[in-house]
């Protein structure tokens, strides 16, 4: 099973890795079966049904059947996420509210153990996350604080993207996809190395045309390519993984003097897992990641080094996890559009942590207690406790509750952004959340699985823009906002037959933010984001004949208001439908025809003034070996 997936969710959610969807072994594909760890004690496989958290898992088949080509589009399948497409390049994605391109800074995203949350600007650059979805094993979407193991910035949620080990992706696979204003090609080859090793290499290229803004080409089209590899070895001294990716994209720079922008990056990750006994396991991971980008009138680049290790132990009723990590990154920032700069323009920052978590199981009750100490170079030491309680009411029902503290650490932009004589550097402190959750997960009937979570989030010290007393200027970024959100997340699957599954899910969100005593926030609560009150998703995956699949998706998203920030735009409520018909020509070849956003010619999803409209589209895809 994927090591780091378990590191992350493992102790918090011991079973996600095993339970690909929501069921038992009969629901697993043959690749998934080949990936079940059979004798792990310290990482005991359990069903998703036993995870005491609000987690939705997209497996390879969910991704494949719904015909998505990017991670951001795949995340539309998760009912506990709100996805707003801003333009051809950008998305705003959040769980439990505070969404928006600027405000969605509380969702941690990890790809095979490598964090892609930027501590530099605070947030996730979705355009930089392009794992080969063909080989993605699963995407685990946790809404709510990630608990002890994930640490800082896993405030509103965690997305854990896990690719398959190389020995499960052997042979040749490829796909060619073309739609209106969109092309995508990828090829992967996997082979064996000696008796116990395997590798795969892949290459992909894509081209996206401009989207529409007010009926005109928005100038946001981009194209690029990526190559990468993964190797896995089993030896006497454990399991080794080495993997890396390299990409080069052409993006619009929006710099009049030099319109050609770019996005380039590389990463390399090594991981070593060793079982010391059947009750003890050790893991060590190291990675390097760097990117440089010229886009949106800005040049920025970050190089990151990260090392983390952890030890798992089983002692009687206790499952202990202790670990530590250190990350160091260097960044640079230049602005070509306006006088905003970072002071200093280049800096090196670091983040270190140590944590311990104990999972105690007694009969039908499991208690998880965790504590993490995290030190960041801006504000020093922070403590992050987490307590979870799960009660297995019956074979088919689990009740759980959790109380967690989570923080978002200051980014360089929060601290060091300067506009001479207008905006000055700040001493911005971490934003803090205390979250209360109550959940149910169960199978009320043999063909039905259900998950429901009630949450209450209490935020303190959220980012505000504070004018100087008396003189108004300079404005400083402060911690002047506070507020709370609450809501319900619920979803379920209904298997009408072996060949037909209906999945439905939705969320509601209520939100109240205000200025704390002493705050004069002039951003008008911008950091509280722009969120619909509710959204609903329904999908139907059916096998019409032995070789023909029909997949239908419907979504309805409530109106996304924009009253908080001047010149932002309301995104009216919308309903949309996607449809896909797949013909499996042979066990190697399949051809599919898909239509997306079929109900309207175009509709907006985001509230940013620069937003473009998402259009009705049709695509044809040919796949080999996937």
């Amino acid at each position: 099973m994927k090591i780091w997936g378990l590191i992350g969710l493992g102790a918090l959610l011991p079973g996600v890795a095993w339970a690909q969807s929501s069921g038992d072994l009969t629901r697993l594909s043959i690749e998934d079966l080949s990936n079940v760890e059979v004798t792990s004690v310290s990482k005991r496989p359990e069903r998703l049904a036993d995870a005491p958290a609000s987690v939705y898992v997209l497996n390879n088949e969910d991704i494949r059947r719904n015909g998505v080509q990017t991670v951001a589009e795949a995340l539309r399948l998760a009912p506990n996420l709100n996805v707003q497409k801003v333009d051809a390049l950008d998305y705003a994605i959040s769980a439990r509210g505070l969404n928006g391109f600027e405000s969605a800074n509380k969702l941690l995203v990890v790809v095979d153990g490598r964090s892609v949350y930027s501590p530099f600007f605070g947030g996730v650059e979705w355009s930089q996350i392009q794992p080969d979805l063909t080989d993605v094993d699963r995407i685990e979407v946790v809404s709510g604080p990630g608990g002890t193991l994930w640490g800082a910035n896993a405030v509103n949620g965690v997305i854990n993207i896990v690719t398959r080990p190389a020995d499960l992706t052997q042979g040749l696979a490829g796909q060619a996809v073309a739609g209106r204003g969109y092309q995508f090609y990828s090829v992967r080859y996997g082979g064996a190395v000696g008796q116990t090793g395997a590798y795969r290499v892949y290459a992909r290229t894509f081209d996206r045309a401009d989207t529409l803004r007010a009926g005109a080409q928005a100038g946001d089209g981009w194209r690029g390519g990526q190559i990468g590899f993964r190797t896995d070895f089993d030896g006497q001294s454990g399991h080794f993984t080495l993997q890396g990716d390299s990409y080069y994209d052409h993006v619009p720079s929006q710099i009049p003097a030099n319109p050609r922008g770019k996005l380039v990056g590389d990463n390399l990750l090594g991981r070593w897992t060793r079982s010391l006994s059947d009750k003890s396991e050790f893991e060590l991971q190291v990675y390097y990641d760097r990117y440089e980008r010229i886009a949106r009138g800005i040049l920025d680049g970050v190089a990151t080094y990260d090392i983390q290790g952890q030890q798992r132990l089983e002692l009687g009723h206790h499952q202990l996890v202790v670990g530590a990590g250190y990350r160091r990154w260097s960044d640079r920032f230049e602005n070509f559009l306006n006088p905003f700069v970072l002071d200093p323009p280049r800096a090196t920052s670091d983040l270190s942590n140590a944590f311990v978590q104990d999972q105690i199981s007694r009969g039908d009750v499991t208690v998880i207690l965790g504590l993490k100490a995290e030190h960041n170079s801006f504000t020093g030491l922070e403590w992050l406790p987490n307590a979870r309680l799960a009660w297995r009411v019956s074979d088919n029902a689990l009740l759980w509750s959790a109380v967690s503290k989570a923080i978002r650490t200051p980014s360089r932009l929060d601290r060091d952004l300067v506009y001479p004589s207008i905006v000055a550097r700040s001493d911005f402190q971490p934003e803090k959340l205390t979250a209360y959750e109550l959940g149910y997960r169960g199978r009320p009937a043999s063909r039905i699985s259900v998950s429901a979570t009630l949450f209450y989030h209490d935020y303190k010290g959220v980012r505000s823009n504070e004018p100087a007393p008396g003189t108004f200027f300079p404005i400083r970024i402060g911690n002047g906002l506070e507020g709370h959100t609450w809501g319900l997340e619920a979803w379920g699957d209904l298997d009408l037959s072996e060949a037909w599954r209906i999945s439905a899910g939705g969320t509601t969100l209520a939100k109240q933010f205000q200025r704390a005593t002493g705050s004069q926030d002039i951003s008008n609560l911008a950091a509280a984001g722009h969120d619909p009150d509710y959204q609903l998703l329904v999908r139907s995956n059916s096998r019409l004949t032995r070789s023909i699949d029909l997949d239908v998706r419907l979504r309805y998203v409530g109106s996304t208001p924009a009253e908080a920030v001047s010149n932002y735009l309301v995104a009216p409520a919308y309903g949309e439908a996607d449809l896909r018909l797949t013909w499996r020509v042979s066990d190697k070849v399949q051809l599919s025809l898909a239509g997306s956003n079929l109900l309207h010619d175009q509709h907006p999803e985001a509230t940013e003034p620069r937003r473009t409209e998402t259009r009705r589209n049709f695509q044809v895809a040919l796949r080999y070996g996937w």
Binding site: T26, N35, T39, D167, T196
Partner: protein, 174 residues
């Protein structure tokens, strides 16, 4: 903890002595799932099934390490529209109509002897050890259940194995 694992798996409750001994391991539940899942990736020759509705017969020949786990797993499942049946036989019988046979071996008939007895019959044979005539052999790799495939044995049994299954095999003997 034992009871908890049983609940978690939801598969092994009343699992008998074998399952109880392996309650901490998913090895045999996973192998049982493989056993019937293989059926989706194999084409049997004409005549192996009397008609489109005939169930796919899974035989456990000799030692049975699965117990009721296998029966629970396959109940209600279908492979290419066929329901699944499980039969347990003390020794290999080429006329028993097995489509997939797990050769557990026994004191009276070794795995090799069972494979030999089925030679030429259209049976997808599965075993834990290598023997002439065995099509699929379970192996453990990195704590996961994987398998080797022998395409010569498959050809002798007039079975066509899909390339997807061949790709997943840790080793293909030709």
């Amino acid at each position: 903890m034992g009871l908890r694992i049983l609940l978690i798996l939801g598969l092994l409750v009343c699992g008998g002595p074998v399952a109880a001994a392996q309650e901490r391991s998913l090895e045999y539940p996973v192998k049982a799932a493989f056993l019937y899942r293989f059926g989706s990736f194999v084409d049997w020759p004409a005549g192996a099934f009397a008609n489109d509705r005939q169930p796919l017969l899974i035989c456990i020949i000799g030692r049975d390490p699965f117990g009721p786990t296998l029966d629970r797993l396959v109940s209600g499942q279908t492979v290419e529209g066929r329901t699944l049946l499980v039969r347990r036989l003390p020794a290999a019988d080429p006329d028993a109509g097995c489509h997939i046979a797990y050769l557990g071996g026994s004191s009276s008939q070794s795995v090799g002897a069972a494979a030999h007895a089925l030679a030429g019959a259209p049976v997808f044979t599965v075993a834990e050890s290598a023997a002439p005539g065995v099509v699929a052999q379970f192996v453990l790799r990195a704590n996961r259940v994987r398998f080797r495939l022998d395409t010569r044995a498959a050809a002798a049994a007039r079975l066509r194995i899909s390339s997807k299954l061949l790709n997943l095999a840790v080793e293909v003997t030709q």
